[in-house]
C-alpha cells in the first residue's frame, strides 16, 4: 500500500498548466464533483420523496390530479385490510429483527469458539445472503407445501404434524418471516463476529484469571463491548423488515386473503389497481413509520454507546 502511495507523483514534469496565481485561491477539492451525483439523487430520490407528500393528498392518474386533502389517509386507515398491513409490517419487522439478533449472536459465539470447520461453517451460513430473494422465496414455497413439501414430510418422520405454513392464515406471515431470517441471519452473524473479534484479548485473559464463567464472560464482556455491532444489526434488520416486499410478494402475495399483507405489498397492489394517490399515501405512511422508529432508536442506541 505505502509503496503505491509514494510512486506516482514524483518524477513527472512539473508545471504543465499556466494559470498558477489563480490556483492559489481555488480549493483543490472543487464543489462541482458533487454535481453529477447530486443531480441524479435530486431528480430520482429527493423530488419523488417530497412530491409524495403532496400527491398523497390527491386523486391522481399521473397526468392530472385533483386535491382531496386527507381523504386518502382516511381511506387508508378505514380499510381493514390496510390496517392489517400496518400491523403485519410491525410484527414482521420485530420478529425478523429479534430472531436475527438472538440467533445471529448465538451463531457468532459458536463460530468464534474453537470448533472444527469454523471457516466452512461461516461461509455456508453467509451464502444465502448473496442469493436472489426471488429464488429463495420460490424454493421455500415448494419446500413449505403443506402435504408434499420436504419440511412437513420431515416433521412427519419424527411424529410432528407440521402446520400448513403459507396456506394457513395464522402462519403465513410468520412462515415468510422465518425464511427471511434463514436468508439474512448470515449477515447479522458476520457483523457480530467482526464485533467480537475486535474485542482486545486482554479482557478475556483477565476474566480467565479471575475465574469468570462462560456465562459471565458473555454478559459482562462480549455483550457490552460488541455494542456497536449490535446497534448496526438492529438498525439494518429493522429497516429491512419494515421495507420488505420481495420475499412476501414471491411467497404469498399478501395472501391467503390479506393475512400476510405488509405496507409495501399494499402500496404495490394499490398501484396495480390504478389508485396512485392511495398508493402514495401508503408510501407516506411507510416513510413516517420508518423514520418514527429508526431515528429515535438510532439516537438511543448510539447515545448509550457514548456512555460506555
Amino acid at each position: 500500500m505505502s509503496t503505491e502511495v509514494e510512486a506516482p507523483p514524483s518524477g513527472r514534469p512539473a508545471i504543465t498548466t499556466p494559470a498558477t496565481p489563480a490556483r492559489k485561491n481555488k480549493s483543490p477539492y472543487p464543489y462541482w464533483f458533487y454535481v453529477p451525483a447530486a443531480v441524479i439523487f435530486f431528480v430520482f430520490f429527493v423530488v419523488p420523496t417530497f412530491s409524495s407528500f403532496f400527491f398523497s393528498l390527491t386523486r391522481w392518474d399521473l397526468s392530472t390530479w385533483e386535491f382531496i386533502g386527507l381523504d386518502n389517509s382516511v381511506a387508508f386507515f378505514q380499510e381493514s385490510a390496510l390496517i392489517t398491513g400496518l400491523r403485519n409490517t410491525l410484527i414482521y419487522a420485530v420478529v425478523t429483527c429479534g430472531l436475527k439478533v438472538v440467533l445471529g449472536m448465538l451463531l457468532a459465539l459458536l463460530l468464534t469458539s474453537q470448533i472444527m470447520a469454523r471457516g466452512l461453517l461461516r461461509s455456508v451460513l453467509f451464502f444465502p445472503v448473496l442469493v436472489s430473494t426471488i429464488g429463495v422465496g420460490l424454493t421455500f414455497t415448494v419446500l413449505m407445501d403443506p402435504s408434499n413439501g420436504l419440511i412437513n414430510k420431515s416433521l412427519a418422520l419424527i411424529g410432528i404434524n407440521g402446520p400448513a405454513w403459507l396456506v394457513d392464515p395464522k402462519f403465513a406471515l410468520l412462515s415468510v418471516a422465518l425464511v427471511d431470517v434463514w436468508k439474512g441471519v448470515g449477515l447479522a452473524t458476520v457483523i457480530f463476529i467482526a464485533g467480537i473479534v475486535s474485542i482486545p484479548r486482554e479482557y478475556f485473559e483477565a476474566s480467565a484469571t479471575d475465574g469468570a464463567s462462560a456465562v459471565q464472560r458473555f454478559w459482562k464482556i462480549i455483550l457490552p463491548l460488541s455494542r456497536p455491532a449490535i446497534t448496526t444489526v438492529i438498525i439494518l434488520a429493522l429497516i429491512g423488515g419494515l421495507r420488505s416486499f420481495d420475499l412476501i410478494w414471491a411467497m404469498t402475495r399478501g395472501g391467503p386473503g390479506f393475512t400476510s399483507d405488509v405496507i409495501a405489498s399494499v402500496i404495490y397492489k394499490q398501484y396495480q389497481a390504478g389508485f396512485y394517490g392511495l398508493s402514495t399515501a401508503g408510501n407516506v405512511v411507510l416513510f413516517l413509520l420508518v423514520t418514527a422508529i429508526v431515528f429515535p432508536l438510532f439516537r438511543f442506541l448510539t447515545s448509550r454507546e457514548v456512555d460506555q
Binding site: 503505491e4 502511495v5 506516482p8 507523483p9 498548466t17 477539492y29 464543489y31 458533487y34 451525483a37 447530486a38 439523487f41 431528480v43 430520482f44 430520490f45 419523488p48 420523496t49 412530491s51 409524495s52 400527491f55 399521473l62 459458536l110 469458539s113 474453537q114 470448533i115 472444527m116 470447520a117 461453517l121 461461509s123 455456508v124 451460513l125 453467509f126 451464502f127 444465502p128 448473496l130 442469493v131 436472489s132 426471488i134 429464488g135 429463495v136 424454493t139 415448494v142 407445501d145 413439501g149 420436504l150 434463514w182 458476520v190 457483523i191 464485533g195 455491532a229 448496526t232 444489526v233 429497516i239 416486499f245 420481495d246 414471491a250 404495490y268 398508493s279 402514495t280 420508518v290 429508526v294
Partner: protein
Amino acid sequence: MSTKRHLWLGLLAIVLFGVVFFVPFAFILFTAAKTQTEAGELQFSLPTTWALLQNLKDALAARDYMLIIAFINSIVLTVVSVAVLVVLSAMVAYVAQRRQSRWSGLVNFLVLCGLIIPPAVVPTVWVLQSLGLFKTLTGLIFVEIAFGLAFCVLLFRAFIASIPRDLDEAAIIDGASPTRLFFKIIFPLLRSVMVTVIIVQSVAIFNDFANPLYFLPGDENATVQLTVFNFQSQFNTQYNLLFADILLITIPPLLLFLFLNKRIVEGMTAGAVKG
C-alpha cells in the same frame, strides 16, 4: 474434556448447518435435474435420470429465449449502474471528506436519508414518465444509481479519511489540477474499497426485484429476477424448468462467492460497522 465437548459441538453444528443451509440448495439442483413427472412429486431425492442439461436448455429456450434477453438486460443494468455509482460516489465522498464546510453537513444528512427513507414509488414513476424514461433500461439505471449512492458514499468516505493529505499537497505542488489529482492519484488508491463497493452493489442490483417490477414492467425487456418470477405461474406444472431457472440465477452469486467470499464478508462488515 473440553476438547471432547468441542468435538461433539462441532459435529452437531456441521450436521445442523448441512440440513438447514445445504439441503435447500441441493433441492434446487436435484429438482432442476429431474424429469417433469418426477419433479412434480416435490421429493427430496436424487433424480433417477439426470436431465439437467436438457432442462437448462428448455428453460432458456422458453418463450423465445426470453431468459437470455433478460440475462443480457440484467448484466447491462448491473455493469452500467455499478460503474457510474463507483465514479460518482467516490467523487462526492472525496470532496465531502477533504473539504469541511456547510455542504459536507448537508451531504451527511442526505446520505443518512438515502440509507433510511423508503423510496416513494409512484412519484418516481411520475418523474420517469415526465422525462420519457419510464419502462426504459436507462430510467431503471438512473433509479438504481440514485438508490445506491448513499451506501457507496459512506464506504468511500471512511476509506478516503485514511489516505494522507500530504499526498494531495505534493501533487498540487507538482502542479496537478484538481481533476487530475483525483482521477490520477486518489482514485487508483481506492482499489480495495472499490472492490467491496462493486461486489456489494452488483449483488444488490442483480438480485433486485422491486425496482424492475415498478420501473421496467413488461415482458420484452424484463430483468432475470422478474422473468423467473413470471415463469412461476407459467411453469407451475413444470417444476423441473422452474428450478432450472432458479439454478441459473443462483449461479452468478455462487461464482462470486466461490472466488471472493473473504472480500465480500470483509466489505459488508466494514461498511456495516462504520455505518
